[in-house]
Assembly symmetry: C2
Homo-oligomer: 235 residues x 2
């Protein structure tokens, strides 16, 4: 243990699990990965992919395993960050479980999700009628994950975790628009991004326009900056 003195009173050990909130963007909308429970369990309930921590496994490894085992997603390059740990004694009816929640972000060009028991939900469906019901305290975790993602887009380069290696500034702008749920002025967005040191680096390529035509866009890659100065403030 981490304290240097011996424990005093009723102390046992806890089951420790990792639950992962994976966000991605599909068709211009922010989506969350959820897992359908076993048929025998409650029907119509959905949960974040979660696994218990193995003996010699780091928490990060457990998060990756939760995605690969439950959704067939092997994304070693995906952004993965710890969100928060949920340890209320009554959060799981089957006993004390301390759950370390992770936030995962993957580019929208990723492989399609394992169609087995996993599904990507539009985050706007979550609270709405007809949307999935979340098990345990996973609604709370999802709320925290969305808040974290929305906030970090402002002052970090996290948005680049939602786009592939090569992207246009329109791609990046659509990330901000999907996560924040607001339209952004393309001209002002471009100016802010290119004037923020280290956010993106221009390549010598251009992307081909869409079916309706349009001027080809320059292709960019991720820059070296992790924190943005100045920040990309939400409108």
């Amino acid at each position: 243990m981490s304290s240097l003195t011996a424990p005093l009173a009723p102390i046992s050990t806890c089951a420790v699990a990792v639950d992962t909130a994976l966000l991605t963007i599909r068709d211009g909308r922010l989506r969350l990965l959820l897992i359908e429970p076993e048929p025998s369990a409650l029907r119509g309930w959905w949960a974040l992919p979660g696994r218990r921590v193995r003996d010699d496994e780091s928490l990060d490894d457990t998060a990756h395993r939760s995605l690969s085992e439950l959704a067939g997603i092997t994304a070693p390059d995906a952004h993965l960050e710890q969100l928060r740990t949920y340890g209320d004694p009554s959060r799981d009816p089957r006993g004390r479980v301390v759950s370390v929640a992770y936030l995962a972000l993957t580019p929208f060009a990723d492989d399609p999700v394992d169609p087995g028991r996993a599904r990507l939900f539009d985050v706007d469906e979550l609270g709405a009628p007809g949307g999935p019901q979340l098990a345990y305290d996973h609604e709370r975790i999802v709320t925290d994950a969305l808040e974290r993602a929305r906030a970090k887009l402002e002052y970090t380069s996290l948005a680049t975790a939602f786009v592939p290696e090569e992207f246009t500034l329109a791609d990046l702008r659509r990330v901000y628009e999907a996560v924040w749920g607001v339209p952004l002025d393309p001209a002002n967005f471009r100016r802010k991004v290119v004037s923020t040191p280290g956010f993106v680096v221009e390549s010598d390529k251009t992307a081909s326009p869409g079916p309706g035509g349009g001027r080809p866009a320059k292709v960019y890659r991720r820059g070296s900056a992790t924190h943005l100065h100045p920040a990309m403030l939400r409108p």
Copy 2:
């Protein structure tokens, strides 16, 4: 557990502990609470106050208990927030311990710390020669705690957790100066604080000047805002 399916492989339970990084300001300097180990243990090593989680105790409660049992600090109104969970399999030589780290902030006017095995260190001493050696991975936790505090002062009203119920804007400015380690222009600081909605509310009191005289300062209280718009950007 939190996943809806049964575990597959070598899984046991973990010892779960809470380690608390308490920051406060004394004599205009940012300080960290550390606990001296038992005499029998390594001399000259210091650790964050930590306790193992009890069976029916929330993580927040464990954090409070770590402060009260190890430093005699009972601060139910102190700011307490989860920092991060450290779960590397080898982080504690005595076995697998998952530690949930907390960040605690208390006003500088608080009661003095229990002189037993607890001590407040100037954070500038920590890396320096002659400073305390930190046990386990606590140096990493402290680094994360300082980074969190410095960052959150920018875009939240967290600075008010370092001052008593009633404070002057000079008090608040000295918080920013101590945590960030930079001097701030008093005039511009004042303008930003009072123009940020909900950050502080003016009372009808005035504080008495110091021994050298000076115009009495207005007394303020905490406002209702938790997030600052616009943010208090670091110089």
